[in-house]
């Protein structure tokens, strides 16, 4: 039969391959061999170790790429360090011009980059062409703006320094942009380690940097795998480490970088819920699933991989979903009619296969399209292809529902009530993203607020924009990429660059009676005071039954304080967990409490001043100033309580994206010995102003100022459980808090060793940490003791995408 006549019968789409000749020519020009990009030049790909860049669609070797070792990393960090001086000294406008030039060059080479990325990664050309590359250009344009505005928008902040950045293979060029653009905008220089499976687009970007005239050493690229990444992460020439990848590696990096003073941001794994309410537009949700889990072969950290569907519509939803799966096309990534391309590498597809097979063994119902049988297997032989897959009737306890599969595999379960939907959604160690489908505003917003995730898409999914922060809650990591919030990851308060070291805090005396040579006569007159812990709004004896001596400025016994232990911390965290009402209150209501607290503290100012003076041995005048400043700090944070309230962006027509600062809810705080009342207030006030409940260890040597606050807290309507105070050995208690999986963030002000310990121990649940690395802060200086830095650390941004239209 004539070809056209036969097509008229079948009405098939036919092949529509994107031409890759230009990319092939580029690879040939480089003789299929690449070095690193260091100090503005490509190193010669020598005889050392190398990686092979492979096209996962057919196993074809595309290029040999040098694998970086310690020497290469050293050279790259040195180049970046050298370039930092002049780059960070450039005006904002000058840096903006460079970022703008990068954006333009990316656009000029848009199709080249798209084809190259598709060849190297296996993702369909539709996605690289329409999503990845346009978002890359957008990221550089947006951050050209931040470069221009840095000094006006972030007064008092300086670029953090040389940044080590490690990117994954799932969105190679886009993740490069997410890392490089904000760093350059802030005035930092970069050493980037590309992913071992997908090194090519970063190399092309390096060329583009040269073409665009970016000064040498501002962007450096080292190719390599895990060992190269480890060498970079361990390099002590870095001020900042940014990583996107698995939670497992994120945890290693957290431990490894602990105590080095490196700022760290981690964008890790996820098992993001995709909640479909019975009042959803079901067809909209079905296409949402396609964009959620069958986008980029499901190799998406924020993929909506857990469908949570209301029982009443579950049957219809699954039936339609199965019908929709029939029309998905898995095929050659360069074909313009391909929906799902190749998984990045054989090792990855083996992992997907293993998890799917385990799910089947476990008894979950697997559905794949009717075409995904033998013919499909034969047709895709030699390439890394996996059909779209759906598991229904999956129980929340199943590994299918708990573990990230990172492939085109959706697991589905049902719920009965909105509350149950949220419970199921939050029943995960991860908290990267959530998709919520409902035509009802109340239903959708209620879920958006209650779900624990850094990005929430209402009636949409996998939306990205440079102006909207992206990042996780819980074990999905911390730090944001994009928007104003993302810029903070590459900035540091300028004063911190020259902060002096904090004096050592000597260990506590043994929790036994004091051998006080001055004799009993030295104790204050009056009835003996028993200082207890303060947990859940009640004074509690320490679980240990031990007390430790609290000495005055001259080493004389004042009284004893409870020697708190891990069980006291456990109890305090439980009390803090229960005090949810505080987080649900309005900022206005919390402000009222903070004002009242200030008022009541001021009423007893004299008494507190006397106490501070006696404990620390400072002058009465200075002690009075500490109390006055503490009152002022409460007032300041009361003022902030209803004003640090987020931003609204319009990243698309008829779309608002809310950047909502949400509290961590339970924060563990370790206070320094310095300014025992003021430091306590400076730390606790912003935390609770933002709606957190806190577990605090006050100054270990001078705990009484905090303990005296119990009554003030009681009389100021601070609900029980909002502020929990456990006295005792700071670092011991900090360790318990850092290891506590129900604490979402830890703040630590103390020694360098203690800071290192807190950061290392926090790796367990990857809680956010804020430590002083043994550096002192002048609590009396308002520019150091209060302000956005505190509120920023007291909250995490939840981005809520809200499309609308009729």
């Amino acid at each position: 039969m004539n070809k056209i006549v036969s097509i008229l019968d079948s009405m098939e789409y036919g092949p529509a391959p994107e031409d890759d000749a230009n990319v092939r020519a580029w690879l040939a020009r480089h003789k299929g061999s690449f070095g690193h990009f260091i100090g503005g030049v490509f190193t010669r790909p020598g005889k050392g170790a190398s990686l092979t860049a492979v096209n996962p669609a057919n196993g074809e070797a595309l290029a040999e790429v040098a694998e970086g070792g310690e020497k290469d990393v050293d050279a790259a960090v040195e180049a970046a360090t050298k370039a930092f001086k002049s780059w960070s000294a450039l005006s904002g406008t000058a840096r903006a011009r460079h970022l703008y030039a990068l954006a333009r060059q990316v656009q000029k080479h848009a199709r080249f980059l798209a084809v190259l990325e598709t060849l190297d990664n296996g993702k369909p050309i539709r996605e690289t062409r329409d999503i990845d590359v346009p978002l890359v250009a957008r990221h550089f344009y947006h951050h050209a703006g931040w470069a221009e505005l840095r000094d006006q928008e972030f007064p008092g902040y300086a670029p953090v320094g040389v940044c080590g950045q490690i990117i994954p293979w799932n969105f190679p060029l886009l993740m490069l942009a997410w890392k490089v653009a904000p760093a350059l905008a802030a005035g930092c220089t970069v050493v980037l380690k590309s992913a071992e499976h997908t090194p090519l687009s970063a190399l092309a970007f390096a060329e583009i940097c040269r073409e665009a005239g970016l000064p040498a050493g501002v962007f450096n690229l080292v190719n390599g795998g895990g060992a190269t990444g480890a060498a970079l992460a361990a390099h002590d020439g870095l001020a900042k480490l940014a990583f996107t990848g698995s939670t497992e590696i994120g945890r290693v990096l957290r431990r490894q970088s602990a105590g080095t003073g490196k700022k760290l941001s981690l964008e890790l794994g996820g098992k993001s819920p995709f909640i479909v309410f019975d009042n959803a537009d079901i067809d909209a949700a079905i296409e949402g699933v396609v964009d959620a889990i069958w986008f980029n072969q499901g190799e998406v950290c924020c993929a909506g991989s857990r469908a949570i569907v209301q029982e009443g519509v579950a049957e219809k939803f699954h039936a339609r979903l199965k019908a929709r799966m029939e029309t998905l096309r898995v095929g050659p990534p360069l074909d313009k009619s391909t929906d799902i391309g190749a998984v990045v590498a054989p090792v990855q597809i083996e992992q997907i296969r293993a998890r799917v097979e385990a799910g089947v063994r476990e008894g979950a119902a697997l559905h794949q399209p009717s075409w995904a049988g033998e013919t499909f297997a034969r047709a895709t032989e030699g390439g890394c292809f996996f059909p779209p897959s759906l598991f229904t009737g999956v129980s929340p306890a199943s590994p299918l529902a708990q573990e990230e599969i990172f492939g085109p595999v959706l697991v589905s379960m049902t719920f009965r009530t909105p509350g149950e939907a949220i419970a199921l959604a939050n029943n995960s160690r991860y908290g990267l993203a959530a998709s919520i489908w409902s035509q009802n505003l109340d239903t959708a917003f209620d879920a958006a607020r209650r779900v624990k995730a850094g990005v929430v898409w209402i009636n949409s999914t996998n939306m990205f924009d440079a102006s909207v922060g992206f990042g996780g809650y819980k074990e999905s990591g911390f730090g944001r990429e994009g928007g104003r919030e993302g810029m903070f990851e590459y900035l540091v308060a300028a004063w911190q660059k020259n902060a002096r070291a904090l004096p050592e805090s000597p260990p506590l005396a043994a929790p036994v009676p004091v051998d006080d040579e001055a004799g009993p006569g030295s104790a204050p007159a009056g009835l003996d005071r028993t200082v207890k812990l303060y947990i859940g709004g009640k004074q509690a004896r320490p679980d240990s039954g031990y007390s430790y001596p609290v000495l005055d400025g001259r080493g004389r016994l004042i009284t004893e304080a409870g020697h708190g232990n891990r069980k006291d911390i456990r109890n305090a965290v439980e009390a803090a967990r229960k005090a949810e009402g505080w987080t649900a209150m309005t900022g206005h209501a919390r402000a009222q409490v903070l004002y009242f607290l200030a008022e009541n503290l001021e009423l007893r100012a004299g008494e507190f001043a006397e106490r501070v003076a006696r404990m620390t041995g400072i002058s009465a005048k200075k002690a009075a100033a500490e109390v006055d400043t503490s009152v002022a700090r409460l007032i300041h944070n009361a003022a902030r309580a209803d004003k640090y309230d987020g931003r609204v962006r319009a990243p698309q027509p008829r779309m608002l994206a809310l950047a909502l600062p949400e509290p961590y809810e339970v924060i563990g705080i370790s206070c320094p010995d310095e300014a025992p009342l003021l430091a306590f207030v400076s730390l606790v006030a912003p935390a609770i102003a933002m709606g957190n409940r806190v577990v605090v260890t006050p100054s270990q040597h001078h705990p009484l100022a905090a303990c005296d606050l119990y009554q003030v807290l009681d009389t100021s309507d601070v609900p029980g459980g909002v502020v929990n105070i456990v006295t005792g050995a700071r670092d011991q208690l900090a360790s318990v808090m850092a290891k506590h999986d129900d604490i979402a963030a830890c703040w630590y002000v103390g020694s360098a060793e203690g800071s290192a310990m807190v950061e290392a121990e926090s790796a367990g649940n990857l809680k956010a940490t804020w430590v002083n690395n043994g550096k002192a802060r002048d609590w009396f200086d308002a520019s150091q003791g209060q302000g956005e830095e505190f509120l920023f650390h007291a909250t995490r941004i939840k981005s809520i995408w809200t499309p609308f239209g009729v």
């Binding site: 789409y13 537009d281 029309t327 898995v330 008829r654």
Partner: protein, 342 residues
């Protein structure tokens, strides 16, 4: 890969489509309609942004090139209701249109494509009622049906008796298909039962002629209205649902078409009846035609790419398709004066 990935992959994904082909050959049975039931659409609430996302990516997710594109354009010709609905229509003008419907593609081009001897006509010719008789004469022996608009087209605000009489007149003149317009007020005021009754009466008046219900979606404004009106029209027995008269401010759009296609799918699920779809107005380019064909294939399947279940209401579309086909054949960009006008 040890096999040609392009080829085998197409075979693999094509497997799903093969089943549809069997059904294409089956005769299309008419929609008998069902009793009015608001429960079929009351709870429906269409999300505009999601519909737009889907339609915006339909043509970026699918494309046809080379021979496939040409074949699809030939298919587009076969589903055109070649239309003239103007105040200055004359018997002569209609006769010209009919001649074009018989011979929509220059013979040398058809030859070059290997289509010589294969019947190639438009799906129908669509005219005003008073032009039907002339059209029927002009198309005699061609097998091309004549469609007539009726019921006070385009606004539909003439008295009911006259609207029904107009249908009977057109059918009497030989129209095989009647494109009726609905009372938009019934939709805008939520008077669904009245809409159902109206369309059911029109369906009855059509007799054996197939009825296409024009919803005038540009007047209905919201996609939820479009879905509900679609469902009511099908419950009332419409054989086709059609987007527009061509006279509204906004005519056929992909978002509206997607919603109507999904209503057709839902009606099929409930009743087993296959209802056709006709986008009309504003479809002028070959590229537009391909976009709609992709939409039909993706959302309703292969069967909805044949004139029995899919039509374009268009006048200028054919000219652009002819030019594109000539470009494929000659490799040269064509001009309008190289193709016969209607």
């Amino acid at each position: 890969m040890n096999v040609d990935p392009q080829k085998t992959m197409t075979d693999a994904v094509g497997a799903g489509a093969a089943r549809d082909l069997v059904q294409v050959a089956q005769p299309h049975s008419r929609n008998q309609g069902v009793a009015f039931d608001a429960a079929w659409f009351d709870a429906t609430d269409i999300n505009l942004s999601a519909v737009e996302r889907r339609t915006a990516t339909l043509t970026t997710r699918r494309t046809v090139k080379k021979e496939w594109q040409v074949a699809w354009l030939i298919k587009a010709i076969e589903v055109i209701d070649l239309t003239t609905l103007a105040g200055d229509d004359t018997p002569g003008r209609v006769a010209r249109l009919c001649a074009k419907a018989r011979n929509p593609l220059r013979a040398d081009l058809a030859d070059a494509l290997g289509l010589a001897g294969r019947r190639l006509t438009t799906g129908a010719v669509c005219v005003y009622p008073t032009m039907v008789a002339g059209a029927v004469r002009a198309l005699d022996g061609s097998g091309i049906p004549v469609a007539s608009v009726a019921t006070g087209f385009p606004a539909g605000l003439t008295p009911m008796a006259e609207r029904l009489a107009e249908i009977r007149y057109a059918v009497g003149q030989g129209a095989a298909e009647i494109d009726i317009v609905i009372t938009r007020a019934h939709v805008l005021t939520g008077n669904w039962a009245a809409l159902h009754d109206e369309i059911a009466l029109m369906r009855e008046a059509c007799g054996d002629a197939h009825m296409k219900a024009i919803l005038a979606t540009g007047d209905l404004k919201t996609l939820t209205n479009v879905y509900r009106a679609s469902m009511v029209a099908m419950q009332a027995g419409a054989d086709f649902i059609k987007t527009s008269t061509g006279m509204e401010g906004v005519n056929a759009t992909l978002p509206v078409s997607l919603v109507m296609a999904r209503a057709i799918r839902d009606y099929l699920e409930r009743t087993g009846h296959k209802v056709g779809f006709k986008p009309a107005g504003g479809i002028r380019t070959a590229k537009d035609a391909l976009a709609w064909l992709i939409l039909m294939r993706e959302e309703l399947g292969r069967e909805w790419m044949e004139p029995e279940l899919f039509r374009f209401g268009a006048s200028g579309l054919l000219a652009d398709i002819e030019r594109q086909i000539e470009h494929f054949v000659t490799g040269r960009y064509s001009a309008n004066d190289r193709h016969g006008v209607a």
